[in-house]
């Protein structure tokens, strides 16, 4: 059994939730690694879509930006950005939207806009990009984030994209018909929404991680499912595929990766 890093565990755990039949709206960075790992292992026919307009792209190396030439070269086709957001995202054709964020709360609402007040921010973050409409237009949302007390907060400074709002039937009350965040994968564990309250509760803990560690890295009082399982460790083939992907990416991009 090989050893693996928490980041590898996170990426593998996220990848496993994807199926060959999924049509996935992929963000750059950790979501992209997880989605391409799924494609290279158990979900070879998964459709990956990047907001730059590339449909069914099969990059051989991980893109460094949302619009790398590799994405367009290996895509089935590339459409304009307005078409992407109108026909493909808003049109309801995406099954999974894959998001990250700077801050998340217990209902999986995300903040990538500002820390502090909007008009006098402590930290000005990049902004929402595609997230606000990805969060409500995709069939469901997977989130991948490293866990930390600064990132996992009791109250967001700014709601950039909607998770389960204030919980319960919040989304339905706003007229939203999609499921919202159904899975939050971190470097420590997996959260899923409580069926009633929609609070994100821990359902699976990565091997070697303690509840105390999770709680120390979460700004809200963590709740657990009645049955919490241990996340199966990365298999050798999963690790090999992920490491080869990263190695190919490094060779292609050199120091730039």
């Amino acid at each position: 059994m090989t050893s693996y890093t928490p980041n590898e565990m996170m990426t593998v755990a996220a990848a496993r939730a994807l199926k060959s039949s999924d049509v996935c709206f992929v963000g750059i960075g950790q979501p992209s690694a997880a989605c391409n790992l799924a494609r290279l292992t158990h979900a070879p026919d998964i459709t990956l879509i990047y907001e730059s307009g590339t449909i069914a792209t099969k990059p051989n190396v991980l893109p460094l930006s949302i619009g790398d030439g590799e994405l367009s070269e290996t895509a089935m086709t590339t459409v304009s950005v307005p078409e992407m957001f109108r026909y493909w995202l808003q049109g309801g054709r995406i099954t999974i939207g894959f998001l990250g964020g700077a801050q998340i709360d217990k209902y999986a609402n995300l903040n990538t806009t500002v820390v502090g007040s909007y008009n006098k921010p402590k930290v000005r973050l990049p902004g929402g990009g595609g997230a606000p409409e990805i969060a409500t237009s995709c069939g469901e949302i997977f989130i991948i984030m490293n866990q930390s007390p600064r990132g996992f907060v009791e109250r967001l400074d700014f709601v950039t994209s909607l998770g389960h709002g204030e919980g319960g039937a919040y989304r339905e009350k706003l007229g939203v018909t999609t499921k919202g965040p159904t899975r939050l994968v971190t470097d420590l564990c997996i959260f899923e929404p409580d069926p009633e309250t929609k609070e994100m509760i821990v359902t699976s803990i990565h091997p070697g991680v303690t509840r105390a560690q999770i709680e120390a890295n979460t700004g809200w009082r963590v709740r657990y499912a009645n049955e919490v399982v241990e996340t199966p460790i990365p298999r050798a083939d999963e690790l090999a595929a992920l490491r080869e992907l990263h190695a190919r990416t490094k060779r292609a991009h050199g120091d730039q990766a």
């Binding site: 750059i28 960075g29 907001e51 730059s52 307009g53 590339t54 460094l64 930006s65 949302i66 619009g67 790398d68 030439g69 994405l71 367009s72 070269e73 590339t78 304009s80 950005v81 307005p82 992407m84 957001f85 109108r86 995202l89 808003q90 609402n109 806009t113 909007y118 008009n119 921010p121 000005r124 990049p126 902004g127 929402g128 990009g129 595609g130 997230a131 606000p132 409409e133 409500t136 237009s137 700014f158 709601v159 950039t160 994209s161 909607l162 709002g165 919040y170 989304r171 706003l174 007229g175 939203v176 991009h253 050199g254 120091d255 730039q256 990766a257």
Partner: protein
Amino acid sequence: MSQFLSLAEAVEATIYDGDTVAMEGFTHLIPHAAGHEVIRQRRKHLSLIRMTPDLIYDQLIGMGCADKLTFSWGGNPGVGSLHRMRDAVENGWPTPLAIEEHSHAAMANAYEAGAAGLPCAIFRGYIGVDLPKVNANIKRITCPFTGEMLAAIPAIRPDVAVIHAQKADRAGNVFMEGIVGVQKHAVLAAKRSLVTVEEIVDEFSPRTLNATILPAWTVTAIVEIPGGAHPSYAHGYYMRDNAYYKAWDAIARDRDGFLAWMKTNVLEKGPEIFAAQRQRLAAA
């Protein structure tokens, strides 16, 4: 009808102080050379628009060309913050920068509505989020058939759109392919347009029946600048200069270092420096 001009002439002819300017490009085909000329010509009080402002907007903002930025994602992709943009927003240096912030979907729809000659765009968005609280240009409209509440935003109708494309032909028509972003929409939405291209050709060939082409009568000025998108890339010509994006982080972090870099690399240079970058990064 498009005119072939030098870059200096083209910027003089199309971009004026106080203009609303959209320099578009979604990672691919970002018009860096044109942006540098705007800085050299010391344009002031521009209202900049772009979905994904990155280095060229950081440079324009840091050099005091802009009063306002309308955007949906502002960062150095894969690297981090735009330090000049943050300094302007957080500290008003070198001049205060007002921001109007949207989502990608909103801006994509707003460009699309601009190209379509409409005053506003409607879409399903901004649900359950805070941006409408801080952006008065986000309103709601009710579908008269279903009663559904949709988001409405003003169309983007810039004074001038600036883009980079792969080719122009000698009649002044412009061809692009690959990740085409919102560039065609931006040009069609704008009153004037400046297009830099990798090369001017006799014919777009092999011609496909549905190629993305802007006819000459939709374009104001065309300038041939090989490598003009660097450090962005031009599909079929050269790759993205990822090292330049990474290096920018340190350059832009410090006001004096930034100003010194701009003096050496932009103010004292001309568009001819881009060709060397294209040669260096040309795909094998």
